[in-house]
């Protein structure tokens, strides 16, 4: 296979000759205005470091309650998993599966796959199952909604704040950090690994 020399806009099918981009540079399609190609600011090593960090923070965010309430001497706290469980009661459990996918399963899989692929990429080899992992990452991307979850927690705090005593928990701080950490690593910049290991192990 000859080296790819064309860049195609995914939104309007316009073809441009590929040009070399520095880290942090971006090209836009002249016809429809969408982003053609973007090169992240992070190299493979930095991305791996952030992924491992995200994995640790993910564990903290899920192990500790995100918020607790107290009223007339009674108190209660909730972790992310307990929130998902609260939806699973009754006849509407389907929605618990959707919510669980968006705030726990999809981010967890994303982080694990990134750690796996990147830890081999640092050593300069394609990870076992490289192309399956990379494809899974592409499919997972739209379903990871941590930032929505974060806003949801803030809304819930204000919603209950008028009626009860609400305290943000450890999990909320960890989730805030996780949301920030996952932005630079979950984007399309991981696609450049395709070029490094074009074809992958067959």
């Amino acid at each position: 296979m000859s080296k790819t020399s064309w860049t195609i806009c995914e939104h309007c099918d316009a073809v441009y000759p590929s040009i070399f981009l520095e880290q942090g540079q971006k090209t836009y399609c002249l016809r429809c205005g969408s982003v053609l190609e973007v090169v992240g600011r992070l190299n493979t090593q930095q991305m791996l470091a952030l992924s491992i960090c995200a994995l640790i923070v993910f564990c903290i965010a899920n192990a500790f309650p995100v918020m607790s309430i107290s009223v007339q001497g009674l108190s209660n706290e909730a972790t992310l998993w307990q929130s998902i469980n609260a939806l699973a009661q009754g006849q509407i459990s389907v929605i618990a599966a959707v919510a669980g996918l968006t705030i726990i399963l999809a981010p967890l899989l994303q982080i694990l796959l990134l750690c796996w692929v990147l830890s081999f990429a640092v050593a300069g080899v394609a990870a076992p199952g490289f192309s399956v992992c990379m494809r899974a990452l592409e499919y997972l991307r739209p379903w990871s909604m941590l930032e929505v979850c974060l806003l949801g927690i803030l809304v819930a705090i204000i919603k209950l704040g008028g009626l009860l005593d609400v305290h943000p928990g450890m999990g909320l701080w960890a989730l805030t950090m996780l949301t920030l950490l996952i932005i630079p690593i979950s984007g399309k910049s991981i696609r450049r690994l395709w070029e490094e290991f074009e074809g992958g192990p067959s």
């Binding site: 099918d13 002249l30 309430i69 009223v71 909730a78 609260a86 806003l151 949801g152 395709w194 074809g199």
Partner: protein
């Protein structure tokens, strides 16, 4: 106006998964081995199907209660809109506005934009192509923020569980609303924005 080369004219196909420019005629991308399509398969039909299903579910999502609140002995059920109104009247207009945008404005905007795109692409219209392309990217970006209400109900229901004193339970409305969000996301994913520009090629 500048003339652009289309991939289909140059015998190239874009691999949707990895962004590789592949030579037309191969079935799978040589790089990531996913199936290649010139356009997303049955794009308009699939988008229309998800769109209609979403629109149908949007009715019970708004009519059915999404949350049952029992605070100190007095129980009440809230729909999406009545929840917003309650916030507004209690003085927290900022939260009311936030929930209104996420649960009412964003889904309505998505239906409006997807409907417009479906009709104009069906008619092969050459009207405002760049703007319609921008609208599509807009709903791709804002679409998933509608999940906000589902997650708020989940959190609140998990927290307020004091049997006799007060409790909050999710109700059917939230199921339908969540499904509307998922269905409209699937509709947006199966729509192929290149169909907007195909009209130009055919007229030329």
């Amino acid at each position: 106006m500048r003339k652009f080369n289309n991939a289909s004219d140059m015998n190239l196909i874009l691999c949707h998964l990895c962004g590789n420019a592949c030579v037309d005629g191969v079935l799978r991308c040589p790089r990531c081995r996913s199936t290649l399509h010139r356009r997303k398969p049955d794009s308009l039909a699939r988008t229309a199907a998800f769109f209609m299903a979403g629109l149908i579910f949007y009715i019970p999502a708004n009519l059915l209660p999404m949350m049952y609140t029992d605070m100190f002995g007095s129980g009440s059920e809230n729909t999406i809109l009545s929840g917003v109104i309650e916030f507004w009247e209690s003085g927290s207009w900022d939260i009311a506005l936030l929930i209104f945008i996420a649960s009412v404005l964003v889904p309505c905007l998505k239906f409006l934009v997807l409907g417009t795109l479906l009709v104009t692409c069906r008619l092969r219209s050459r009207w405002a192509m760049r703007e319609r392309s921008k609208l599509y990217r807009l709903i791709e970006v804002i679409g998933y923020w509608s999940m906000l209400d589902v997650l708020v109900v989940a959190l609140v229901a998990a927290l307020v569980q004091f049997r006799t004193l007060s409790s909050i339970e999710p109700r059917e409305g939230i199921l339908f609303f969540g499904l509307v969000v998922v269905l409209t996301m699937l509709a947006a994913m199966s729509f192929d924005p290149r169909l907007i520009w195909d009209a130009e090629v055919e007229h030329a």
